[in-house]
């Protein structure tokens, strides 16, 4: 059960080897997290993350193979995990990859794969988990979108458009869940540029931040029942401006 301060006892993480997810789980482990399933592709990385969580005192840590692009398996996975884990208090969706940019070099398969990893895959998984949470009568879905989803930029338009798709999908699901009054809520997280393995080697963008700062914001979002977490917070008002910049100017912004 999520408690009255929004803290979960159990969590399923899609993209279980994500650094952002790991930072969030480390904070939740200090509160009441006792059961975790890390789902992802890289079993070695999952095992390492799992060991970290065990060391933090999480009693029951498991890993499971999950490929965001294997849509056929998504529905089954949600109900399998529910019967194995008991109630799922929190589903943290942290799948995603930046991928290459530049239409000159990109292959069609690469674009399709990026959109699948960043949008179609997590979206397909989300409906399965939303159904499980509704059946159990409570729970929180927390989904990593990105500030890149606010307005697609030339610099990362494949990733940005996929995240924009996921963000829009989540907003719709949020409204549906709120309307259903089924005790299930969804929180959208839009981090800016975060120094992680995914962004290693890239030139840091303005308002760059750390995984730990993002994790603090996510925990605060859970505590305050936020529907949207923008981190760093300065990107919130900036997002509004980003939408208002004329195309001609937006196009010229440095990548």
């Amino acid at each position: 059960m999520n408690d009255t301060t929004g803290m979960p006892a159990s969590a399923v993480v899609l993209g279980g080897d994500s650094e952002l997810a790991a930072a969030v789980l480390a904070k939740l482990a200090k509160r009441r997290l006792e059961r975790v399933v890390l789902a992802g592709r890289n079993e070695e990385a999952l095992a390492r993350r799992g060991a970290e969580l065990s060391a933090l005192g999480v009693k029951d840590v498991r890993t499971v193979h999950f490929d965001a692009t294997d849509h056929e398996r998504h529905d089954g996975l949600a109900s399998e995990l529910a019967s194995e884990l008991g109630d799922i208090d929190l589903v943290l969706v942290a799948t995603g990859a930046l991928g290459r940019t530049g239409s000159d070099e990109l292959t069609g398969a690469e674009v399709a794969r990026s959109i699948d990893t960043n949008f179609t895959g997590p979206a397909a998984a989300l409906v399965g988990f939303a159904r499980v949470l509704r059946r159990q009568g409570h729970g929180t879905l927390a989904v990593f979108s990105s500030v890149a989803a606010v307005r697609v930029r030339r610099a990362n338009f494949v990733y940005g458009s996929a995240k924009a798709g996921l963000d829009g999908f989540c907003q719709g699901l949020q409204d549906e869940l709120a309307h259903a009054r089924a005790g299930v809520r969804l929180m959208i997280i839009r981090p800016g540029f975060v120094h992680t393995k995914m962004t290693a080697g890239m030139a840091p963008q303005p308002f760059a931040t750390e995984a730990d700062v993002v994790a603090d914001a996510v925990v605060r979002g859970l505590e305050t029942s936020a529907e949207l977490v923008v981190v760093p917070a300065a990107l919130g008002p900036l997002s509004v401006l980003m939408r208002l910049v004329p195309r001609a100017l937006w196009r010229r912004l440095p990548s």
Binding site: T4, T5, E84, L85, R134, H138, G183
Partner: protein, 477 residues
């Protein structure tokens, strides 16, 4: 998903779940609710649910602040349908009453006959069943103990049948049901011993406590001198005023205490005014308002101790005058943290206030009082010492971490928190706070062997074993 067919009477479709929340409204969950119409209907509902393998829970007026009366994904028995006062023996002062009857309705029936509830909590909007299941206490705990001390008998419906329980003939199941948070079965009726009164009024002495030390000193002295005692404490005042309070000491008024015009009808029922708070309000309670309210409340209290005669509702149930006042906290709700610490660790009372202030929390309403001897029920909250109930805005930053630290302070002082108020305790601390948990679990296992009755609270705190359909792999219980 297609909408459920409308008007399809022939096929009894499973009704849609609805949101069920505690009084604090901070962590609602969805469940199917069904109104219990009679004790036989209750047996039928339990049998049907036990056969289907789902979980279930009784619910009364929903005054538990946290998740004690929630049953996510399960079936909630709405016991408000069992609301009759069955039999009042006005000569002996014994009443048999259905469990869904509210204290308010029961008082309306017994006060004109010259009887009162021997123990009452700070609201009359709780059911008899709820009062037993939480083993509630009142402002007279230091003298009279908890609600269950006056329960002669109760009828409990369980998956293994209907049982009449009494403290003498069936102590284990009786005291597992008392303070059992509804997890041993559903109470359908109870027989209570009442306290005699000669008037429906209270003589109330009101005085200020200048700071926490003086407040505690006055309350300690009042143990011997007064039947009822409680202090409202300003939880946000700092410096010299830290812990300032308004203390009210009460006695049931005798006829000689009443002004002449009230003596003709001393047991006249109280005409309680009740203002409703509309639903859907944004959060109206904010930190500045909390500070202003607390300061005003203190200043309004007389500088010197004064005595007045009051009807019983404004003394016992001041907040009942504002129906659904929990809505003032908005959609995100609030929570109440109530703990008790033994006398020798009275210093914890100060420490907790300091922690909350240091963490930037703003307690909106704080009540301090003394507890007397503990009762025999394994999960009963009161034990000798000091108890403090603190209302806090839910959904504020760092509340989880702050209260986790407070829990540890309370537990290490040999204290405990109150399940009826809880929505967030860590399960690891339950065994330390309630050392007789194992005894209670054993008694519960006999009454509800398959674990039909489960609440969100019970699951969160592992009061009951995880459901068998969930593989225990990795869990160490």
């Amino acid at each position: 998903m297609s909408p459920p067919p409308s008007g399809g009477r022939e096929a009894p479709t499973e009704p849609e779940p609805v949101l069920v929340s505690g009084f604090g409204r901070a962590s609602a969950s969805a469940a199917v609710t069904t109104l219990v119409r009679s004790p036989d209907h209750l047996d039928e509902l339990i049998a049907r649910r036990a056969a289907s393998g789902g979980r279930a829970l009784a619910r009364g007026l929903g005054r538990a602040y946290g998740d004690a009366a929630q049953c996510a994904g399960g079936l909630v028995f709405d016991c408000r349908g069992l609301d009759q006062v069955l039999e009042l023996d006005a000569t002996r002062g014994v009443v048999r009453v259905e469990a869904g009857c509210s204290l308010r309705a029961l008082l309306a029936a017994i006060v004109p006959a010259g009887w009162f509830l021997p123990v009452t909590p700070g609201t009359a909007e709780v059911t008899i069943g709820g009062a037993i299941a939480a083993d509630v206490h009142g402002k007279n705990h230091h003298r009279d103990g908890t609600f269950s001390a006056f329960v002669d008998e109760l009828v409990l419906h369980t998956p293994v049948g209907r049982r009449t329980l009494s403290p003498a003939d069936s102590p284990e199941p009786f005291f597992a049901t008392v303070a059992g948070m509804g997890l041993t079965g559903v109470i359908s009726q109870a027989t209570l011993r009442l306290a005699p009164i000669t008037t429906s009024k209270m003589v109330v002495e009101t005085r200020r406590g200048a700071d926490l030390d003086q407040t505690m000193e006055i309350l300690e002295r009042a143990d011997a001198s007064h039947h009822y005692s409680v202090a409202w404490v300003d939880g946000v005042a700092r410096g010299r005023c830290f812990g300032r309070s308004v203390i009210t000491l009460g006695e049931h008024a005798g006829i000689e205490d009443l002004p002449a015009h009230q003596r003709t009808d001393p047991l006249a029922p109280a005409r309680a005014r009740c203002l409703p708070v509309p639903p859907g309000l944004p959060r109206l309670i904010s930190a500045p308002l909390i500070h202003a309210f607390n300061a005003t409340y203190f200043r309004r209290a007389p500088r010197r101790a004064t005595r007045e005669v009051l009807a019983y509702p404004p003394y016992f149930y001041p907040l009942d005058a504002l129906a659904d006042w929990n809505r003032l906290y908005g959609r995100r709700g609030f929570l109440q943290y109530q703990y008790v610490v033994p006398d020798e660790r009275a210093d914890v009372v100060r420490l907790v206030f300091e922690r909350l202030i240091a963490a930037g929390q703003h307690p909106s309403l704080v009540v301090l009082k003394r507890f007397g001897a503990a009762g025999p029920a394994p999960l009963s909250f009161p034990r000798p010492g000091w108890t403090v109930a603190i209302d806090l805005l839910a959904g504020t930053e760092d509340l989880a971490a702050t209260l986790d630290r407070v829990d540890e302070l309370v537990a290490s002082a040999g204290g405990r928190v109150y399940f009826a108020k809880d929505g967030r305790l860590r399960p690891e601390l339950v065994a330390a706070m309630y050392p007789e948990l194992g005894r209670w679990q054993a008694a519960r296992a006999e009454l509800d062997p398959d674990g039909l009755f489960v609440s969100d609270l019970a699951r969160r705190l592992h009061l009951v074993a995880p459901e068998p359909r969930f593989a225990p792999g990795g869990r160490d219980e």
